[in-house]
């Protein structure tokens, strides 16, 4: 089985991630998610296959996850990102007991024991507390999303952002700017506001160390720092925090195939072609 390849595809609201693994080697590709999930999904998958140097027919099993998981015609199985993150993160950092995933349109906290989820909470109703919030504010401030973390570290003090709503927080930011507050203080205040929100959500699952942060939010050093202060735990970040869901999906696929084989009921792949399917048929 060591030479069989398994793929996991995680379609998030902004990014599509693919991981291909045979248990030893690991190939990953991150691409944007378009309005047409399925078209983009096959494109990112093809790139990953090219990088791994195998044809689509060389995959033993494909698992889709993320909020676009239903729209993947070439996947054999769908598993929620909750289970996939738990599996993926635990394989990279075995001592993981809590995972905080800060995605583009939702955020979630999971309590994990030995790679398995025992409790989780999710915010998918409100942009505040997600990457979307920072995207909106970055645009308002005219800076790049990826620069926000570094800029905020220069803050001498933090502006208190009282609003928990993205739209109203944006207004507060504009009025702080007009009042001459330094940019870094505003951004540090924003990070604190999101950290408070994510922190309260995380406390609902009674976090235990090691706590790992994943998703786009994990790439923001200022946000991670603010969250560390809020929770009182040091936070770990995987080398590539975007791919843990896809990695977990590939691993869960591999485990499903191995288990089925052991039980004498081997799983058969559903699709043999990497089809491009239009979202609007």
């Amino acid at each position: 089985m060591a030479d069989a390849f398994f793929a996991g595809i995680d379609i998030g609201s902004t990014m599509t991630k693919v991981v291909i693994t045979n248990g030893d080697s690991l190939t990953s590709i991150i691409g944007p998610t378009g309005a047409e999930h399925r078209r983009m999904a096959s494109k990112v998958m093809q790139e990953a296959l090219d990088k791994a140097g195998i044809p689509f027919s060389g995959l033993a099993y494909v698992v889709a996850t993320g909020y676009g998981r239903i729209n993947v015609p070439f996947a054999d199985k769908q598993i929620t990102e909750i289970s996939c993150h738990a599996r993926g993160v635990s394989s990279l950092i075995p001592e993981t007991r809590t995972i905080i995933d800060i995605g583009g349109q939702d955020s979630k906290a999971m309590r994990v024991e030995q790679g398995k989820v025992i409790d989780f909470v999710m915010n998918d109703k409100c942009a505040a507390g997600t990457g979307r919030f920072l995207e909106v504010i970055a645009e308002t401030l005219g800076i790049k999303l990826e620069d926000m973390g570094k800029i905020s570290l220069k803050a001498k003090e933090k502006v208190a952002i009282s609003s928990i709503c993205t739209i109203f927080a944006e207004q507060e930011v504009i009025s702080s700017l007009a009042g001459g507050v330094p940019l870094e203080n505003i951004i540090a205040g924003l990070h604190e506001s999101i950290a408070n929100r994510i922190g309260s959500m995380t406390e609902r699952v009674k976090p235990k160390p090691a706590v790992v942060v994943t998703g786009g939010g994990a790439k923001n050093i200022g946000l991670v720092k603010a969250l560390e202060e809020r929770l009182g735990f040091p936070l770990l970040t995987p080398p590539e925090p975007l791919i843990t869901g896809a990695l977990g999906a590939a691993m869960l696929g591999r485990e499903a195939v191995l288990k089925a084989r052991k039980e004498g009921k081997p799983l058969v792949r559903k699709e043999t072609k990497l089809e491009v399917v239009s979202f609007h048929s």
């Binding site: 909020y67 598993i79 929620t80 289970s83 398995k116 025992i118 409790d119 999710m122 998918d124 109703k125």
Partner: protein, 386 residues
């Protein structure tokens, strides 16, 4: 299609579900008095004894709230906002009156607002105590006498002891049949899906008791005759307040589960306990409606250790879980329902103690927000299966 048997009873239920107000409108147009009520704490026996048709007011998950927002804050329970919204749109104009109990503060307030805007021919506020002590029971007895008198004045006919006695037995018969139907859910797989049960419960809210009873009887017969099995899946219990649409239960079952039991004010709280007739029939209604229904709207004195207290307050859930072989519980709380939100931590502590997995969801009461719950439900099922 979740109804596996396309027998006449099932077809009738689907039809009545799609046209919820149809039967009550028909009765109203023939001169019967139809009275709308909220909550499971209103003793329907008094309506039946008075010859009045009870109609449980429900909201509409499909309709966007467009009218009610002019009168109610958006931080008000979205279920009540929806009920009032469709009333403002004229959907409940067939109601000859309303009876609303002080089940929670939102229901208390909507009573006045409804009365002011809709001006029903009959309206009555039932002052329902929030505790079950002796003094509360005496108080509630007086309140039921007041409700009885109000109904008599409205219809012009006195309610005799015999009327009340017959109403009690009609409603007990109805409850017994619902429990019989529920016993078919104990099988693995359950003989009827949670979606189909929910559809029946919604329909039952809209019918006179005799017609409802007949419908349940036909359905049970149909299920027994066909001996069909619904699909298998993780066996769940749903806990919460109002469910007046199949959307949520269908979503849960479409994720690969079967809802086999509930603790809802539109489910078991309506029929799990009978009225046990005693000399004063109104007193037996007090026992049934004030003390036997377990809903967080009634405060139960905390006694003993925390553990003993939880056992006393939620022990019935343990029986439900064991008898129906439940593998997980979903707490479905409608946003801004303080009543249920404040009790939820205790319910969850109790479930934790039992070692049964649970998922707490808070929802805005609309079809689209229910759709968003899919990932949570699927992840929960993955956690249980793991």
């Amino acid at each position: 299609m979740s109804i596996n048997v396309a027998g006449p009873a099932s077809k009738k239920i689907i039809d009545l579900y799609e046209h919820r107000t149809a039967r009550a409108r028909e009765l109203h147009s023939r001169g019967r008095k139809v009275i709308g009520y909220l909550c499971c704490y209103v003793p329907l026996e008094l309506f039946t004894a008075a010859g009045v048709v009870p109609y449980r007011i429900m909201g509409s998950l499909d309709q966007t709230i467009s009218e009610a927002d002019s009168y109610l804050e958006t931080i008000v329970c979205p279920f009540i906002r929806s009920c009032f919204d469709i009333a403002l749109k004229g959907e409940y104009d067939f109601l000859d009156g309303i009876v609303m109990p002080h089940s929670c503060d939102t229901v208390q307030r909507i009573y006045d607002i409804w009365k002011y805007h809709k001006q029903p021919a009959f309206s009555h506020f039932l002052n329902l105590p929030h505790m079950e002590d002796e003094s509360s029971k005496r108080f509630y007895l007086k309140e039921l006498e007041r409700l009885k008198k109000a109904l008599e004045d409205f219809t012009g006919h006195p309610i005799s002891e015999a009327d009340l006695k017959s109403a009690v037995s009609l409603h007990n018969e109805n409850r017994a049949l619902l429990r019989e139907l529920y016993s078919l859910r104990r099988a693995e797989p359950a003989l009827i899906s949670g979606t189909d049960v929910t559809r029946l419960l919604v329909v039952g809210n809209t019918l006179p008791v005799v017609e409802y009873t007949e419908l349940i009887r036909e359905l049970i017969q149909e299920l027994r005759n066909s001996g069909h099995q619904t699909r298998t899946g993780t066996r769940l219990l749903v806990y919460g307040s109002e469910i007046d649409d199949i959307a949520l239960i269908k979503l849960i079952e479409d994720c690969g589960a079967q809802v086999v039991m509930d603790d809802m004010c539109t489910g078991t709280r309506v029929f799990w306990n009978d009225v046990v007739p005693k000399d004063g029939l109104l007193e037996s209604l007090v026992d049934r409606y004030l003390c036997d229904i377990v809903c967080p709207r009634t405060y139960r004195r905390r006694t003993g250790s925390r553990e003993e207290d939880l056992d006393r307050r939620f022990g019935y859930l343990k029986s439900f879980i064991e008898e129906f072989n439940v593998k997980g519980v979903i707490l479905y709380i409608i946003r801004f329902c303080d009543t249920h939100e404040f009790d939820a931590p205790d319910v969850m502590d109790y479930l934790k103690k039992l070692g049964i997995p649970f998922l707490h969801i808070e929802d805005d009461y609309s079809v689209t927000t229910i759709g968003q719950l899919k990932t949570r439900v699927q992840a929960f099922l993955e956690v249980i299966k793991d």
